[in-house]
């Protein structure tokens, strides 16, 4: 089962997880990752984060990514939810969950999904501090994270 969604309003990760685990009550384990808006950028306090996407590419790209995970690991299900729009510190940005018979497959698939959502998915992010809006540029660490998965078809 694949559940990939863009979410335009604040969402409740615990409710989503309850539904996902109910849908996969036969799975031996579920690994999830919740990303939240950070409160600081360097020394500056962040009061708002905005995520933009590009309609024709963002969701199809996330679906293709989930399909790659499903094809590589023996998973019962994958969920990938991603916020767009304006968020406050502490708000949920991304929720990934993988259900599998064995935990290692679920851990690896969730790690794979997050590395790609962070550095490959079609999202642009800017944060607002006392100094104004600033677009966030890709980091070398993100590219290094991605290189870990080069062997996954």
């Amino acid at each position: 089962m694949r559940d990939v969604r863009l979410i335009e309003r604040d969402f409740d990760p615990s409710r989503e997880m309850a539904q996902f685990s109910a849908a996969h009550d036969a799975a031996g384990g579920i690994v999830s990752f919740l990303g939240q808006v950070r409160r600081e950028a360097g020394d500056a306090a962040v009061d708002m984060l905005e995520l933009r996407h590009f309609g024709p590419l963002t969701v199809p790209g996330m679906e293709a990514l989930a399909d790659r995970a499903l094809a590589h690991w023996p998973l019962a299900g994958v969920m990938a939810l991603h916020r767009v729009g304006q968020m406050r510190p502490g708000d949920a940005i991304v929720l990934v969950a993988c259900a599998a018979r064995h935990r290692r497959d679920a851990f690896a698939a969730a790690d794979f999904l997050m590395d790609h959502l962070k550095s490959r998915a079609w999202f642009w992010k800017r944060e607002h501090t006392a100094a104004g809006w600033r677009w966030i540029e890709p980091r070398d660490e993100d590219r290094a994270d991605l290189a870990r998965w080069a062997h996954i078809p």
Partner: protein, 80 residues
Amino acid sequence: MLTLLFLGRLEDVAGGPERHVDVAAPVTLSQICAQFDADLAAQISDPTTKIALNGVIVAGDDWRAGDGDELAFLPPVSGG
């Protein structure tokens, strides 16, 4: 009318997320860039900027964009 979309930081460079230009015939990337100021033209032509024509990524310069098309300029993503 050709629609140009500027994603991410390109929005700031272009002075807005969207522009509309009249084109008599389909145009190339260099013909489009000729209408931009030097900074925007340089960032649009940078190899790290991907281009989507009507929602599909195009590579190289063997494409033309004409009346009714949508051309999106996608700078490197900053992830989720």
